[in-house]
Structure formats: C-alpha cells, structure tokens
C-alpha cells in the first residue's frame, strides 16, 4: 500500500513581494520517483527549500510523513543532494569518510557510536560501489566519484525520501547514465521515494515515474503516460517539446 510521504497544499512564496510559487498543491507517495522540471526561475529550488524547511511557507501547508512541517523533527528521514558545492573541492582536506559522516548529523537524528557510525558509512559507500575510496581525499576524486560521495552522504542516514537538486549538471554523459541507474535501483529495489530536479528533460522520462512541471504554478503533475497522451500538454509545450520528454520513456 502506498503511504503519503509528502503533501503540499496551497503553497505560495514570494521574494521581496515577487511571487515565485503560486498555490502549489501536490502529493508524493512512498516509492514515487518524481521528476521536477521547469524553466529557469520557475521556482524549483524555492520549492525544494520549502520542502526541506530551509525556507518556511508563507501561505499554505507542507506535510511530511503525516506531520506539519512546522512540527516536523525527523529530518533524518529525508536525504538531500544539493545542486552544486559552493566551493571548489579540489583542495578541501577531508576524506570521503569524513564527508559522508556529515550526513549523520541531520536534525532529529540521535548520535551514533563511533563503530555504528563507521558501519553506516561503509554500508552507504558499498551501496554505491565506492568503498575502496573511503580514505581518499574528496579533492582527489573525479566529478562522477564526488557526486557519488555526496549521494552516499545523503543516503548514510538511511532516509525514506531523497531530494536531489540537479545532481548531474556538472558530470559527463556516461557518468550521468550510471548515476541515474543507481537512482533507479534505489527506487525500485529499496522503494526509496525520490524527487529529482533536472533540466535533463530528454532523459527524465527513462527514470522518473511521475513528472511535475513547474512554472511558478503547477503546469502538470502526474504519470508520464498521462503527460505524453495529453493533448492539453501538447498544446502547451508544442508537440516537439512534449516529444523530447516522452520519446525515450522506458517503462521497464
């Protein structure tokens, strides 16, 4: 049975009087893989910041695992992979293990013993096939490996939902394919709920089960079959844009 993980109802948000999100309402259930797409400035990152409690809703409500976000404390149930690092990691003197451990200090999570912490880190690295680089410095890794380390940091607390903000924007196509494959595996085999912001509309249909098209308000939210078969969407995007999103949709 699918359980509701996230519910957004009538969410609006403005920066300096300029409305960025208007009356957003949608639900995400356990095991969903939602692709969040939309043009630049459409409010995708603002929506994610609201869902993570970094920004607080100005109007409307957000419910996480059945609890209103203002009373929600179990942040360890949500893993987050930000858009990009704010600084160059080239000279950052921290090991992969130290970086992944940062995922264990999320709000509401009890401190683990050192050995339990090490076990959790090893498990997360093993899951993503990067255990051999555990003691390497983050700056010594390739872009794809760094991205996996950051995914391991998001997964180390064993979250039930994963939110990713354009995780593949800085990596090459081959690494991006492998990264998406890992996400699909996590979603199908571990029933991890995933919400992925991406500009990669040509590929999102191959991995996500649902599409949320945002342009300050929700333009479309539903399954890919509904999106691809919708004449309204064809009219809205034009047939070619709809085709880009739909043509590689692989339902297997």
């Amino acid at each position: 049975m699918q359980v509701e993980v996230l519910s957004v109802d009538g969410l609006s948000f403005s920066y300096n009087g300029k409305e960025v999100l208007h009356q957003i309402s949608f639900q995400v259930a356990t095991g969903d893989f939602v692709g969040l797409v939309g043009p630049n400035g459409s409010g995708k990152s603002t929506l994610i910041k609201n869902l993570l409690g970094i920004l607080m809703p100005q109007t409307g409500t957000i419910t996480l695992f059945g609890t209103d976000i203002t009373r929600f404390h179990e942040w360890h149930r949500i893993g987050y992979l930000p858009q990009k690092l704010n600084l160059s990691t080239q000279f950052f003197p921290a090991t992969v293990s130290e970086i992944v451990a940062l995922g264990l200090i999320a709000r509401g999570k009890r401190e683990k013993s050192r050995s339990a912490e090490d076990k959790a880190i090893t498990k997360a690295l093993d899951l993503l096939d990067i255990l051999p680089i555990k003691q390497k410095l983050i700056g010594e890794l390739s872009g794809g490996q760094q991205q996996r380390v950051l995914l391991a940091r998001a997964l180390v607390g064993n979250p039930e939902m994963l939110i990713l903000d354009e995780p593949t924007s800085a990596i090459d196509p081959e690494t991006r394919e492998r990264f998406y494959a890992v996400l699909r595996e996590l979603n199908t085999e571990r029933n991890l709920t995933i919400m992925l912001i991406t500009h990669d509309i040509g590929n999102i249909g191959r991995y996500a089960k649902k599409l949320l098209y945002l342009d300050r308000k929700i333009v479309f939210y539903g399954g890919f079959d509904d999106f691809c078969g919708s004449s309204d969407m064809s009219e809205f995007f034009g047939p070619s844009s709809q085709h880009i999103i739909c043509h590689r949709h692989d339902t297997t």
Binding site: I105, R107, E140
Partner: protein, 272 residues
C-alpha cells in the same frame, strides 16, 4: 645548556606559554577560515584591533579589555553588512577595517605619548607579555579551542557545503556568528604575539601549510597546530638568541615551513 638557561627567564616562560596557546588557537581557527575563503577577515579585524588598542591606550585601560568586545562587535557588523546592505564580504571587511585604522590614527595624533606603546602592538612583542595577559590568553584560548572541538562537525559541514548544512538543520547563521566571535578573540590575542600587521599570517600560514600534506580534516588541524607551535617555539628562541623581532621571525619561519611542506606534499600526492 644554553636552552636550559634560556628557559629560566620568567619573561621567556610567559612568552612561550602564551605563544603556544595563541599558536594553537590561530592554527585551528585558521583552518576553518582558509577553507571558507575567509582568510582576510583576520587582516580586517587586525586593523580594527589597531583602532581599539589605540582607544585602550588613550583611555589608559589595558588594550585587550577594550579590543576584545569592540573587535567582536566589528566582526558581527561585517556579517550584518553582508546580510543587510547589499555588500559582499570583502567590501564589508574593507569598510570596517578602514574605520579601525582611521580611529587609531586619529587617536594617536590627538594624544601624544602612547605612540611607542602603539608601535609595540603594531609589530608585536611577546617577550613583554604580562602575567595577566598570559592568564587571559590561556583562558580565552582554551574557551575558543573547546568551542571548535565541540562544534567541529557542524563547522566542517558548513565549511564544505553550507546549503547541505542548512538542510541538515544546522543553524548556519548562529555558527557563522560564533566563528566571527572566535576570529575576533583570536586576532586580539595574536596581536601581542606577532603584532597587528602580521596577525593574518599566523591565521593563514599554518593552515595552508597543513593542507599541503594532510590526509584528512582532523589531520589538517593537527599538522596546522604542529606548524604553528614549532614556529612560535623556534621564533621565541631565535628572537632571544639573536635579538631579532619575534613576530617577524615567527612569520618567516612559518613561510619556511610552508615551503618544506609544499615539497613534501608534492611527493605525498604523487604516491596517492
């Protein structure tokens, strides 16, 4: 024999004790500042310290008592300016730093008689440190190091990825304020050791030296602390032996250690 004789002097003992604590403090905090690209906040706050030291001398109060609260306020003002006034951090540091220098120059010209003392704050004179200053240095250094140890994970998280830290529920604003306060206290303490002009060097050099060879974050803190301690111990010894200015020697030794660790680091990275 000569070293034992050297250690018998009370002023040398005071210089070494205060110097070691301040060195540890600069090294650990310096790593955090360098990683967050905030190295120059030390320079800016040192300039503010010049103004506050002049104010202390003008009011005939020991400068450290005037400098600590005023420099703390200045560092918080830098953060507020970047938040509220559409000013980037470097410009805010420049503004507050200019205020400090202006006040210092103005007070020095108004009141003649303390310019010699002010000069000692500009270039440091750890050998003249008083027992009270040693006690204050130890107390503040221990307090700051305890805070850094207690908050090392949130500090590492913010240094590496502030957005993720926020999403993890770390109160990044509070931590940034704490770092600013720690930096202020450190800068004021370091002015006695190396002087206002060279304070930022003591924050930056041990950290960048450690980054050349360290293989983890903890290791970076440890190596930075070792570099800072070694430079202070050697600096005080050479300064006494050859009658040379301590602050300048400490900074030059740090630069020398950076050169050595840079070469060692190249070899280490080649093998990994």
């Amino acid at each position: 024999m000569e070293i034992l004789q050297f250690l018998q002097y009370a002023f040398i003992q005071r210089a070494l004790v205060a110097g070691c604590f301040i060195a540890l403090l600069c090294a650990t905090l310096g790593v955090l500042l360098v990683l967050r690209r905030l190295s120059l906040i030390g320079d800016g706050l040192a300039h503010v310290t010049f103004g506050t030291a002049a104010l202390g001398l003008f009011l005939k109060v020991q400068p450290i008592f005037v400098s600590v609260p005023l420099v703390v306020l200045s560092s918080l003002a830098i953060l507020k300016l970047t938040e509220k006034a559409r000013i980037h951090g470097d410009a805010a540091i420049g503004m507050v730093s200019a205020l400090g220098i202006s006040v210092g120059v103005l007070l020095a010209s108004l009141a003649t008689g303390f310019n010699v003392d002010l000069f000692s704050y500009l270039f440091g004179n750890i050998l003249a440190v008083t027992p009270t200053e040693v006690a204050i240095s130890i107390a503040l250094a221990v307090a700051v190091i305890m805070v850094i140890i207690g908050l090392h994970r949130p500090l590492l998280s913010i240094s590496f990825d502030e957005e993720f830290a926020k999403a993890s529920g770390i109160n990044t604003k509070a931590i940034n304020n704490i770092v600013a306060v720690l930096a202020s206290v450190t800068v004021v303490l370091a002015m006695r050791l190396v002087g206002i002009m060279l304070t930022s060097a003591l924050l930056i050099l041990p950290a960048v030296s450690a980054i050349q060879v360290a293989r983890s974050f903890k290791n970076t803190m440890f190596v930075a602390a070792c570099v800072a301690l070694l430079s202070v111990l050697l600096g005080v010894f050479l300064s006494f032996t050859f009658n040379l200015p301590t602050g300048a020697l400490i900074v030059l030794l740090n630069l020398g250690l950076f050169g050595i660790l840079f070469i060692v680091g190249k070899q280490i990275h080649r093998t990994h």
